[in-house]
Structure formats: structure tokens, C-alpha cells
């Protein structure tokens, strides 16, 4: 199904996801709007618990009890992935057109199946490949992700590989059916720095070569800077600012984004002590009315009592903050 060039690949509108817990309903995601275009890498950054993982898991239909998608829509190539019709469509595209890699490579692979099986089963299910053909493709995939001696690797089990190699296998699985969107949910958090750099470099190169759209979830601004074209900053279940990566890093508009950048060491600038953002992210069981960041925001005013919505601040930049829009207005 060919998609008109300007229509985004993935559209998420007013997505709301709640978690029923003993101590009350946790509003993990409180109305997220996102788009991902062709061949574009969108970085989603935010402290842990900001709802970034939940959003992408909602896309992949991995939200299970106690979580549930309360409202909102997720469309892939214009067609909804939610609701009765959506489920069958999701099952067709999931793992084929949209794929995902997870944070902890140690537990993401099935310990009792060989690497070969875990790659070929995707190929045989989605593309109906024969056994030999799938194995040949699997070897290509392992070479694609820079794994040495791929034939031997196919017979090995996950416990025989290092963390980095297992993540590469995950990537190989994700790329098996030449997906159009790869979602990476904090792919390098569990790895040490050297491996992290190699994996990111690999992802960037693959994204370039395969004209792949990528959603990179992370809490590490360094990873975002290195990888993404556009960046969305999430806070307390909402997107507070989205824009081109360079712009965001040069001129952060939303106070939270500014605080984040101030709190992150920058190799190219020598700054005195880093300034942490005071206070703690709000309890999402009963989120404060209005702007969630108000309690920690220096520029907070009375208008912050009303909850701001994501409005266009300038070309390619949207912000969800009254003070910011006033500044732009003034």
C-alpha cells in the first residue's frame, strides 16, 4: 500500500493509557500526540516514568493488565491499530512493518531456543520463507549487524553470547523482514559505554542505509544528540516540547527542557557545577491540575493553573507551556 509522501508513517493522537493499581489509577500517558515520517529518527527523551516506554508499547499492542489504552488513536499508514479491526491489522504489521528492540538483552531472548531459530521463525511466519532460505537470510542479517562467524552463532544459545552481541541479535531479528519503522526502547541502557557507542553507530548506519524510520527512546540526552533528527521531550505522561534536534539543543524553549539540558554535562562547553532541577516528578495517581511541571518551574505564573496544550511555537517547533507562548507572542 503506497503511502503519499507527506503523510506520516505513524500518527498517535490524544493517546491516554491508565494503570489500575492497588493504590489508585496511575495515568501513565495523559494525551500524547506524535507523528513519525519516512526515514526519520524521532528521539523521545524524558525521565523514567515519564510515559515514553508506555507510548511505544501501546503502538506495538504490548499493553497488558494492569495497563489499558483508555482513549486516543494510533494509526499506521493511515489505518488504525486499535479497536476490533485494528487488532488484525496490528497482528499483520507487528514484527513485519513495525519492529521493536528492548532494553535488557539478557532477558529479551528466549533462553531455550537457538539464535537461528529465533531469527528464522520471524522470516518463516511473516514471509513464508523455507527453512534453508530463512537460514541463509539469517546469516546475512548477522553479517549486517557485524557479528563474526555468523554460521556458528546460529547454533548457539543466548546464554552463550555477550550482552552486546545479544542486542545485535535483537536488531537482526528486528530487521529481518525489512521493517519501515524500528522502535528502540532504551536499547543501550543496559550496556556499558563502549558497546553502547558501537550499537548506536550500527543503528545510525542501518537507519541511513535502509532508509529506516526509527523511534529512539532514552533518558540519555547524549544518545539523542547523536542519533535523532527530531526530538520529543516527555514529562509526566505528556509531550512538553517537540522540534528539530539541533534547535532543541541550541534554544530549548520549555523550562523543563532547559532544566534537562542544564543538568546534562556537555563535552563541548565547560560549565561550573551542573544545576539539578529541584523537586520530584508528580505522583501520576492524582496528577496536579494544569501544567505538571508548574511546581518545579521557576517561570511558573498564575496561567499555569490551566493545563497548556501543545501549540506551534515556531516553524518545526511545538511547546506546551503558557510562558513560552507568551514570550513568542510578545
Amino acid at each position: 500500500m503506497t503511502v503519499p509522501a507527506n503523510q506520516p508513517l505513524l500518527e498517535i493522537e490524544n493517546l491516554v493509557v491508565h494503570f489500575t493499581t492497588r493504590s489508585g489509577i496511575v495515568q501513565g500517558v495523559r494525551g500524547v500526540n506524535l507523528q513519525v515520517g519516512h526515514g526519520e529518527t524521532l528521539g523521545i527523551v524524558g525521565e523514567s516514568g515519564s510515559g515514553k516506554s508506555v507510548t511505544v508499547q501501546a503502538v506495538m499492542g504490548l499493553i497488558t493488565t494492569p495497563g489499558e489504552i483508555v482513549s486516543g488513536s494510533i494509526r499506521w499508514k493511515g489505518k488504525s491499530l486499535l479497536g476490533a479491526g485494528g487488532r488484525d491489522y496490528l497482528e499483520k504489521v507487528r514484527g513485519k512493518e513495525i519492529t521493536m528492540i528492548f532494553q535488557d538483552p539478557m532477558t529479551s531472548l528466549d533462553p531455550l531456543f537457538t539464535v537461528g531459530t529465533q531469527i528464522t521463525e520471524v522470516l518463516r511466519h511473516h514471509l513464508g520463507m523455507g527453512k534453508k532460505q530463512a537460514l541463509r537470510r539469517a546469516v546475512e542479517l548477522l553479517e549486517l549487524v557485524d557479528i563474526n562467524a555468523p554460521e556458528r552463532r546460529l547454533q548457539q544459545f543466548p546464554h552463550e553470547l555477550s550482552g552486546g552481541m545479544r542486542q545485535r541479535v535483537m536488531i537482526a531479528i528486528a530487521l529481518a523482514c525489512e521493517p519501515e519503522l524500528l522502535i528502540a526502547d532504551e536499547p543501550t541502557t543496559a550496556l556499558d559505554v563502549t558497546i553502547q557507542a558501537m550499537i548506536l553507530e550500527l543503528l545510525a548506519e542501518l537507519q541511513e542505509r535502509l532508509k529506516l524510520s526509527v523511534i529512539m527512546i532514552t533518558h540519555d540526552l547524549g544518545v539523542i544528540a547523536q542519533m535523532s533528527h527530531r526530538v520529543a521531550v516527555m514529562y509526566a505522561g505528556k509531550i512538553v516540547e517537540v522540534g528539530l534536534a539541533e534547535d532543541i539543543f541550541e534554544r530549548p524553549v520549555h523550562p523543563y527542557t532547559q532544566g534537562l539540558l542544564r543538568a546534562t554535562p556537555r563535552p563541548d562547553e565547560v560549565t561550573e557545577r551542573m544545576i539539578a532541577i529541584e523537586g520530584v516528578p508528580p505522583n501520576l495517581i492524582s496528577p496536579p491540575p494544569g501544567c505538571a511541571f508548574a511546581s518545579r518551574c521557576e517561570q511558573a505564573g498564575e496561567s499555569c493553573g490551566l493545563s497548556p496544550s501543545l501549540t506551534v511555537y515556531e516553524e518545526n517547533r511545538m511547546v506546551s507551556c503558557w510562558c513560552a507562548s507568551k514570550k513568542q507572542g510578545a
Binding site: T20, T21, R22, S23, G61, E68, I69, M106
Partner: protein, 323 residues
């Protein structure tokens, strides 16, 4: 749920709050509560048997033999659950029988469970010669006829409840051993066990702090299954004259001696049988509750499912495709 309540909840437990918290937890999970209440009732019944039993379990009256329960046409309120082959009151015998059955069931599960689990852990964790030795010991003992062991212990100690407990424990630990060893072998390879060792935990610490805790659910389940089997096994031994001696009685013994009356007096077997089933059910409810409490992730999922089931009548909510 106002915010304050939320805060206490997430504020973590501290001292006195722990017990209150546990009870609160129990109250919220109805099945666990029912299970605990049933067990409390059973224990009370066992302890206060002489007080609450309408008749003495050994008072016999051959004339009033094999009377049907009260709801039968010739039943009487004097013997609510009817009388047995010697005219003794079935209800009183079930109440008194709880003592032996609960005692034997619990102690055998504990002894056999502990012994088997420790050896299983040792075999699985140490591997090599220890594993071989313990596994061969298990094979030998499984092949050895249980009844013969019973005869030996009987010859030494003579028939009593202790004999039954020893015999059943001696014949019953192997399954725990095997189950634990199997589980330890697979867990042995996981990262966190290697990590614990690297950090320098001593062998026993690794085994008991790291490996044992996540064996709880299969072991707990196994303990429940074994409890039911043991209570019935006690019957076979006692009926053959190796276990408890009159006037003491047990559920299993009543089931066994009621066996031949199945066609004539169905209630002799049925009521002790029901007592055994209820006990097993109660223990299972509590055990599954304990498993929930010890596994927060599962607990939340369970709670959410209940809430959604209740809200099913409310606005239909789209549910994700995964289970």
C-alpha cells in the same frame, strides 16, 4: 482514594504498619481471606475438638448404627451427619479426626519438604559428585517398597502417629528433591546467580537468598498436592494397623474404614473426604495469596483484572491484543 492514602501506600512499610498492612492486603484479596478464615476454623476445630463435638468420638451404640444424616428421612438431629458402622457420631469423628490429619499432613509436608528441598538445592547447586550421589540415593529410595520401610519403622517404634509421620516423610521427600534440583539447574545459569557468586556470596547464601526465593511457586504448589496425598496415605497405614491406635481417629482412617460401606452408607466416606478437600482448598487459597503477596507484579495484574471485571459493566474499554 485521596492523596494521603496514596502516600502511605507508596511510603513503604514500617514496624507496626507491616501487620496492619498485611491484614489490609488480606482483606482486599477475598480468596486469601476466605482461605485464612477456613484454616483458622480448622485449627480451632482441632484444638477445641472436645468442646465443640456433639458426642464423644468413641461413644458407640450398635443399635443406632449406620443412621443417615439429618436431612435423610430417617436421619435425626442427634447425629447431624449420621452414625458410622459402630453407631459413633460421624460429625464428632470428623471434628476429632482433624487433629491427627492436620498434624500428620502438616508435619510430613514440613519434614519431607524441607529435607527434600535442601538436598535438591545441594544437588542442583553443587552438581558433579554430590548431585550424582543424591540423585542415586533418590532413585534407590523410590525403588524401595514404601510398605517395607513402614514395616521396619513399625517394628522399631510400634504403631503410632509418629510412625506414620516418619514413614510418610521417609517415603515422600524424593519428589521435592527432584523438583528443586531440576529448578536449581536451570536457575543456576542465570545472570543474577553468577553475579551473586562474583560478588562473593558464600554458597549457602546464594542458594538460600537468591535461588530458593524464586522456587517458591512450584514448591508451594507441590506442598499443597502432597498434603492431600499424605492425609489419604495416612489412612492406608492406620487402617492396616501401623498408624494411630483407637480411640484416636483421623479423616483418612474414617475414609478407609468407610470404604466397604460405600453402597450402604455413602456418608461414612463422603464427609471425611469433604473435610480433606476443604482443608486442601483452604491451604491452596492461602498459598496462592502468599504467592501473590510475594510477587508484586502478579499482585497488581490480579487486582487490575478484578477491577476491569467489575467495570465490565461500565464503558467498554479497548483491550490490547496480548493476554
Amino acid at each position: 482514594m485521596d492523596a494521603k492514602q496514596g502516600a502511605i501506600e507508596s511510603g513503604g512499610d514500617h514496624g507496626g504498619g507491616r501487620l496492619k498492612n498485611l491484614f489490609l492486603e488480606l482483606w482486599r484479596d477475598k480468596t486469601g481471606f476466605i482461605g485464612m478464615a477456613m484454616i483458622a476454623a480448622l485449627l480451632f476445630m482441632a484444638v477445641a475438638a472436645p468442646l465443640i463435638a456433639p458426642h464423644s468420638p468413641t461413644a458407640q451404640n450398635l443399635r443406632a448404627r449406620l443412621k443417615a444424616p439429618v436431612w435423610d428421612e430417617n436421619g435425626s438431629w442427634n447425629h447431624i451427619l449420621g452414625t458410622d458402622n459402630l453407631g459413633r457420631d460421624v460429625l464428632s469423628r470428623v471434628i476429632h479426626g482433624s487433629r491427627v490429619s492436620l498434624m500428620v499432613g502438616a508435619s510430613v509436608v514440613l519434614i519431607a519438604g524441607a529435607f527434600g528441598t535442601v538436598l535438591g538445592l545441594l544437588a542442583g547447586y553443587r552438581g558433579g559428585r554430590t548431585d550424582n550421589f543424591i540423585m542415586r540415593w533418590i532413585d534407590t529410595q523410590v525403588a524401595f517398597p514404601g510398605l517395607l520401610i513402614a514395616l521396619i519403622i513399625l517394628a522399631v517404634i510400634g504403631p503410632s502417629m509418629i510412625t506414620v509421620i516418619l514413614v510418610l516423610s521417609f517415603n515422600g521427600w524424593m519428589v521435592y528433591g527432584r523438583m528443586t534440583r531440576g529448578a536449581v539447574l536451570s536457575v543456576r545459569q542465570t545472570a543474577y546467580v553468577e553475579a551473586a557468586e562474583v560478588v562473593g556470596c558464600s554458597g549457602t547464601r546464594v542458594v538460600f537468598r537468591h535461588i530458593l526465593p524464586n522456587l517458591t511457586s512450584p514448591l508451594l504448589t507441590l506442598a499443597i498436592l502432597e498434603f492431600a496425598r499424605i492425609v489419604l496415605a495416612e489412612a492406608a497405614l492406620s487402617f492396616l494397623g501401623m498408624g494411630i491406635q483407637p480411640p484416636a481417629t483421623s479423616w483418612g482412617l474414617d475414609v478407609a474404614s468407610g470404604k466397604n460401606y460405600l453402597f450402604r452408607a455413602w456418608w461414612l466416606v463422603t464427609f471425611p473426604g469433604i473435610a480433606i478437600s476443604l482443608t486442601v482448598l483452604a491451604i491452596n487459597l492461602v498459598a496462592s495469596w502468599m504467592r501473590l503477596v510475594s510477587d508484586p507484579q502478579e499482585r497488581e495484574k490480579q487486582f487490575a483484572r478484578q477491577m476491569r471485571a467489575r467495570r465490565k459493566r461500565g464503558p467498554v474499554v479497548q483491550e490490547a491484543s496480548a493476554p
